[in-house]
Symmetry: C2
Subunit: 438 residues, 2 copies
């Protein structure tokens, strides 16, 4: 194999692409030593060839035309970093069809078009690396695919969106409201101008679909992920959570029930003493419950140029090594054959069981709490504790209720009735509590 080198074509010269080029240059010697041959950047594709990214790339490598990568038989590995569905999907499928291995950080693409893409990679007997798609530089994909392969994973609890974790942590630590912290995060470059994907839980849901697919060996579909964001969280909810001994995190939760799975992203109260509660700022963490292994957790920076670039480069190195050793497609992209994935149903949200936190704004007058308690009781929801703030007859005050475990459909029916009470003002806030993460 002496003299052989692995040629890489990069599509997408944005932030992460820049980080990838930096690492490929800076660690060229270490990479060659570990891979067994040189890994060379052969082409960089982007529509914008003029912006200064602060690194030097030979002009002759730059092009706006992705076909110069896809159609070049000398290129072994294609890195796709443009994000979004199209043309990323076309480029990835084109590269696979041309017999090239692909590395991508595109969770949206894989969560939505995974069926087509994973099957194509298997059919072409090439590798598809997507470590960078979840958890930035945290090697969670490898961990689920190989490290935990000797166990059966039962549940996953992930903090997989750095922006929303940053916002919630800052709200918690500084007692400030959502809108204000979001604005500051946008000014500081920690949130996008359009923060929808992050604060509505969509980005986390994309990642959860991938994690559940890998962890359980099932077809976990993105549209089946129940998704709720953090916009409605009020500083008072955070304070009440604290009073109950909890912290609020936007959790991506997946549980394997055998014939069905549940996948959901929503703000969740977890015990303040739990190791996930200590994951602050823009950090991510994936907490995994295994049958034999018990609890394990993988923590790190879930985004950013350099952390994410390390994950891309780790994939490139593994694939390059496989090419050198002629052992490509040694492990299918999902750790098992696409055809071997279990078909499961998605458990509807009404069927899940949880403990709940309710904050109900009421016009304070005698008997209101009794009426709320009556409705909950008739729906067979048992109350664990109540906080009723100082009473000032005639004003609107929060009644905060923590319930024992109950099916969500019971709770929703109770909330419908509660919302119709004349004393109740506005929409009650409902948060789920996970007390038994293990």
């Amino acid at each position: 194999m002496a003299g052989r080198e692995i040629k890489v074509g990069l599509i997408g010269f944005g932030t992460i692409g820049t980080g990838v080029i930096k690492i490929l240059h800076r660690h060229a010697a270490a990479i060659r030593e570990r891979v067994g041959c040189a890994v060379r950047l052969a082409r960089v594709v982007d529509l914008d060839l003029t912006t200064d990214r602060g690194i030097r790339v030979e002009r002759r490598l730059l092009t706006t035309d992705a076909r110069l990568v896809l159609d070049d038989p000398a290129i072994d590995i294609v890195i796709e970093l443009i994000g979004g569905y199209e043309p990323a999907r076309r480029f990835v499928l084109g590269a696979l069809a041309a017999g090239k291995s692909v590395v991508t950080a595109n969770k949206a693409l894989l969560a939505v078009h995974g069926a087509e893409i994973f099957a194509e990679a298997e059919r072409r007997k090439v590798d598809l690396g997507f470590e960078a798609s979840v958890g930035g530089g945290i090697p969670i994909i490898r961990t689920l695919k190989e490290g935990l392969a000797g166990d059966r994973t039962r549940a996953i609890y992930g903090i997989v969106n750095g922006t929303s974790n940053y916002i919630l942590s800052t709200m918690t630590e500084e007692g400030r409201p959502f809108a204000e912290v979001l604005q500051q995060a946008q000014r500081d470059g920690l949130a996008e101008a359009d923060p929808t994907y992050d604060v509505e839980g969509i980005d986390a849901a994309h990642k959860l679909a991938l994690l559940a697919t890998l962890a359980f060996g099932v077809h976990a579909r993105f549209p089946d992920v129940y998704t709720e964001g953090i916009r409605q969280i009020d500083p008072s909810d955070i304070a009440f959570a604290r009073a109950f001994g909890y912290t609020i995190k936007l959790l991506a939760i997946a549980k394997d029930h055998g014939r069905s799975i549940e996948t959901r992203v929503h703000p969740t109260m977890i015990p303040r003493s739990h190791v996930l509660a200590g994951v602050r700022g823009a950090y991510n963490a994936i907490y995994v419950q295994g049958e034999a292994l018990g609890s394990s957790m993988y923590f790190g920076l879930g985004a950013g140029m350099m952390p994410t670039a390390t994950a891309v480069v780790a994939d490139v190195m593994e694939i390059a090594r496989a090419i050198v050793r002629r052992s490509s497609a040694r492990v299918p992209p999902l750790g098992r054959a696409w055809s071997a994935l279990r078909r499961v149903s998605a458990r509807p949200m009404g069927e899940i069981t949880s403990e709940y936190y309710l904050r109900i704004m009421v016009l304070d007058r005698p008997g209101v709490l009794a009426r709320l308690a009556g409705i909950l009781g008739r729906k067979r929801i048992s109350i664990a504790s109540v906080i009723q703030q100082e009473r000032r007859q005639g004003t609107t005050v929060p009644v905060v209720i923590r319930t024992h475990a109950a099916p969500e459909r019971h709770l929703r029916r109770a909330l419908q009735e509660i919302t119709r009470l004349p004393a109740v003002k506005g929409k009650p806030v409902l948060l789920r509590i996970e007390d038994h993460l293990g």
Copy 2:
């Protein structure tokens, strides 16, 4: 490859061996699906064939004679779980020499005889899996070897001994003394009858030598690891640490300085708000500082039958897959060739720089603190804060001093002088502080 099966010989039918057999049986179908062929237990070697381990193993598989594994050409993979140096070393080398791949959980063996064993595995072009040797079921070996391969690791901070972490956590949470908590841990089966390896930091030092070798790509030698245990920690030290905002953990610390590395295991004060401080009970965690990745952490159960067995089985599966795919020795055991490891010197403990906590028991009389401060000042050690407990003239009281960063040799010289002062009773307690884990 249809019809092919991978045959495994297990040497050591103790706790972890029992767990391995359980998983190989229970998950046989899932393992076959992931590996691409069946993995069959072909032989179990142990000197004790009569004890009931609570699982059924065909009598004809059991033997006391390891040669029936080492000399059987049908056996592809040998699992070594007897621990200790000999005969484990002989068995592992024998299996490798016979062209078999090996899986082991034996950190002591690899830390002390690694040079010989890793080189032999490379020479024979077989695989050597040792995921179970550090962090039980936490896939930290894979992570350092492949997941973080695209980055340069700068430092590692590990809680890698569950027994000592359990003891320190319990002392911290319940305010009880070391001896009492150790005794209870022994009664509960959480500490060995002879706890030396665990509480003196030796087990952690074995693991650290392996982690540093992998993470930095160097020859990190076990005898070079500075090792200090937790016996001298008093509940009062834990209380003072708390007053300063710290928690005490037995940390295994490795830092890469380029031409030299530092490796040390000792009780360490870390900020109470740090994510490592939340690692309680028998849990382990390895906190990694990377150049590009920044901080990441890997958390889970570092010991126990089933967690450790999952790591053994994950290695067996990966190696079995390589045999099926004819891609054995695709990655050398340490992620790079043995010959490519950097030769580095070990930085002597006197040369490391740290902040320090000192608890000095003094006969309380006027001027003692001034004398202590004078000695520290002359050795150029600057004091960050002091706690002097209620003064009762003529009694022995603790003076607690937190220093700014200083070279350890300065501190040791100061302590020699301090110990000689007539007012100082007993040996001062010295603990290192890590304030900047990132």
